[in-house]
Amino acid sequence: MPSAAEATAPHKRIVDINALRKSYGDNEVLKGIDLHVRPGEVVAIIGKSGSGKSTLLRCINGLEEFQDGGLVVDGKPLLYDNASAMRALRQSVGMIFQSFNLFPHLSVGRNIMLAPSLVKKRDKTAARVQAEALLERVGLEDKFDAMPEQLSGGQQQRVAIARALAMDPKVLLCDEITSALDPELVGEVLGVVEGLAKEGMTLLMVTHEMRFARKVSDRVVFMHQGRVHEMGPPAELFGNPQTAELRQFLSSLQE
Amino acid sequence: MMPQFSYWDILRNLIYAGELTVMLSLIAFIGGGIVGMVLLLARVWRPQVFGSVFNIYVQLFQGTPLLMQLFLSYFGLRLFGIEVSVWVSAGLALTLYTSAFLAEIWRGCVASIPKGQWEAGASLALSFGEQMRYVVAPQAMRIAIPPTVGFLVQVIKGTALASVIGFAELTRAGNMIANVTYQPFTVFATVGLLYFCLCYPISLTARYLERKTNAVRR
């Protein structure tokens, strides 16, 4: 079922995934994925555990090598054997992890400043000004000198978002970023993500928060057994699922 | 005329001296274990009284060179008019040295047993000795075994220093044989290899035991 997004001209795509295949040994985890994302689009990826959602996201910034197919982000093709091309690509792609992964030995501010100073060679004052601005954006302007362990999970995840944003990425990948949080802390993180979506950031997010996916995303991708099984605008996909697998998945969430 | 030594001659004499290394190690390890256990029990029994004594003892032996301890034992005993064999000097110093390390290792193991275990024992009207014997020691023992076995390697290596006060164990034998054969490279390489053959299996065992206890506790 070709949608409006599928018809987008190639030069208008910021993420361009074609026939991507990935296996771990004999276990083929991604069995030919096609996904084309416009700049500013918000894509929610849903699906059962083990369907390959994380693997797909991790392929997009080269944390996993795939065996077949093509992947282009912001005009930069993924080349594993070319370290500088790899880093150029990663500068356009930010990633936020389920387990935050803040650097425990660095203060919140230094966590954010690390990559801009090392990779973008930004000078200390500029990096600091930027870090402070980003912390304000995620509502943590008073935590610049705090250590990660002193923060709640929700605060840590917001710092992780600020850290990713410090590299001015064109695309942000979010892998179940609220799954490790206590329920009362989920809202503050999703609030930040929603703000980013409104500001026009391109987002690919794996999520189990269906209500959030429905509200924020432009398009929902349902993955099943390593394939894009169904895809469409949230109202359509949630309101009128076409396949038995999606219907079953959605009803399993209701329980 | 210089006598000719075959490699077999060298090896045979070194292995013979190696037996003394093993014996001295066992004396130190067993003696140190007994003294260390007494120290530990005193400390756990009455921390207010024996706590600082224990700490000073451990600090003293862990904070000074084993070589100095051997010298002090050797010359100290002599100074007080006690003419003893080098077995006693070396055995005494190594025993005390070992006891300090083992006591400290075991203290850590006992401390890692939650306070609630002691309290549970006490609430069942067990005496201190019974709490230790039936509740804490069995649990502490399991985690204590790997580092204790590991420390045996340190003891064996420590006995090499007894060569300096004239104890004719492996290292000293190496010195003497190197002097008569003029083959110091071969001799000391062999000496090192013999120590390795003694220590490496023990190291592997300690590592294996540690992995096993970690696996159980997880």
Binding site: R90, N101, L102, A164, M167 | G63, L79, N175, P184, C199
Partner: protein, 220 residues
């Protein structure tokens, strides 16, 4: 029976003791600087390096950890000349101490490195850091922080172990005590004083390293 102890006769030789302390400290500092640099490199090799390099490093670590320091020293000082490599006592001592500390701390740091969660590396890679930057800025600092107490203990052990270097006439503290005791015949007192100085050095170095570690090594 009374025993006369004369510590003043020994203390009279204080310049010699001072020289001994200076050499002990110099050898220790050298072992710390070179030994730790070596072991960070080796630990990296063992965790992420190529296999052909990891195996010899592992062999070096096991060989050194399972033989006495005094035998290592004798092998270098007495054994190598047979191959035509004659080293001065100080140089032989320095090499032995560096290699010895290097082996133990390789193992300690390796354990610290493998305890760093993989997510840390991935987060850093996704921020476009180079492999080298990931290691030096993200993986190594918290690992060093974690294992610093063990490293400090090992450094103390090596410093105390350096007393053996006096046996090959390196003029460190034990050597000073040997010479003083030969000159004064106050053998017991000489070693008591040397022992007390060693104890003070151990306490001092531990304090210093505990203070310096967080500031110098893993400040980030």
């Amino acid at each position: 029976m009374t025993v006369q102890l004369d510590f003043l006769a020994v203390l009279h030789y204080w310049p010699m003791l001072l020289t001994g302390v200076a050499w002990t400290l110099a050898l220790t500092v050298l072992a710390i600087v070179v030994g730790l640099a070596l072991s960070v490199t080796f630990a990296w090799v063992r965790v992420e390096g190529p296999r052909w390099a990891a195996i010899p490093v592992a062999a070096y670590v096991e060989l050194l950890r399972n033989t006495p320091f005094i035998v290592q020293l004798y092998f270098i000082f007495f054994g190598l000349p047979e191959l035509g490599l004659r080293l001065s006592p100080v140089l032989a001592s320095a090499i032995a101490l560096v290699l010895n500390l290097g082996a133990y701390s390789t193992e300690i740091i390796r354990a610290g490195l493998s305890a760093t969660p993989k997510g840390q590396t991935e987060a850093a890679l996704s921020l476009a850091l180079t492999r080298y930057q990931v290691f030096t800025r993200v993986v190594l600092p918290p690992a060093m922080q974690k294992v610093w107490p063990s490293l400090v203990s090992q450094i103390i052990i090596v410093m105390l172990g350096s007393a053996v270097c006096g046996q090959i006439a390196t003029e460190e503290l034990n050597y000073a005590a040997n010479v003083i005791s030969a000159n004064t015949f106050h053998t017991f007192e000489s070693y008591i004083i040397a022992t007390v100085i060693y104890l003070a050095l151990a306490i001092l170095i531990r304090r210093l390293l505990n203070w310096a570690g967080p500031r110098l090594i893993f400040g980030g």
